[in-house]
Amino acid sequence: MASIPVPAPEAGPVEPSGTKIGPVVLAFAIGTAVSIGLGVYGRLHTPTGHAVNIAGFSTGAAAKAALASVAMALAIVQIVTALGIFGRIPLQGAWVGAVHRWSGRLAVLISVPVAVHCLYALGFEAYDGRVLAHSLFGCFFYGAFVFKMLILTRDDSPKWALPLAGGLVFSGLTALWTTAVLYFLIV
């Protein structure tokens, strides 16, 4: 008796080009969970009001402003090199990718002491609009970063996914810098 051929089960929704949207949705969900987790921790944790300072800076605020500004500068390097990688500006060579990767790694690592200070010493606050925005963008930034890192592990993501993730990370950091350092400098 002839068996009826059964089509192989698909791994998930597949876009016409052969890319898969499922892993992108999963990465986005994980990033969202990270953002929410950070926010919940910052809200539930009782702020200590103090944290380890970095030698060489007069105040914790100065240290955070300096580190965040370095991270912001590296993020601009990220954007420029990303434009080169995607052929939007004439930047070519193996060094472009290397600079892109290492500027991103350094930017996020440099931001970690700032974020820990904010979460541990200050917590998630909402007593005025700027502080609420800063708290939200802080959580958003690390969620977007996780989203991007998870997408980077896949070759079958849609073409729009990586630029979207990178744009979200850059936007988050820019908003963070604007709502803290720029405010610190002009007020």
């Binding site: 702020p47 200590t48 009001g49 103090h50 944290a51 380890v52 300072n53 970095i54 800076f57 105040t59 914790g60 605020a61 100065a62 240290a63 955070k64 402003a65 965040a68 990767r101 991103g104 790694r105 996020v108 690592l109 970690v112 002491p113 974020a115 820990v116 200070h117 904010c118 541990y120 010493a121 200050l122 917590g123 606050e125 007593y127 700027r130 502080v131 800063h134 708290s135 802080g138 970063f145 996780v146 991007k148 890192m149 998870l150 980077l152 592990t153 896949r154 070759d155 709502t179 803290a180 350092v181 405010y183 610190f184 007020v187």
Partner: protein, 62 residues
Amino acid sequence: MKHRSPLLTLAAVAVAFAIMFIVNMLSGPPGNSSTGTAGPSAAPQRPAAVQTTGPGPVSKET
């Protein structure tokens, strides 16, 4: 092909977070030689105010 380096980057950032949290938890309140204040990055400098840990949003700016 799966790329591993982004996962290593994620792990490195997670470890950095963990180290910084542990260092902060092990360090004492202001007054220890290895600790500093939680100076607000967005507020005018008020040394007396930022040293306190009292109620209210005195040192909540980020």
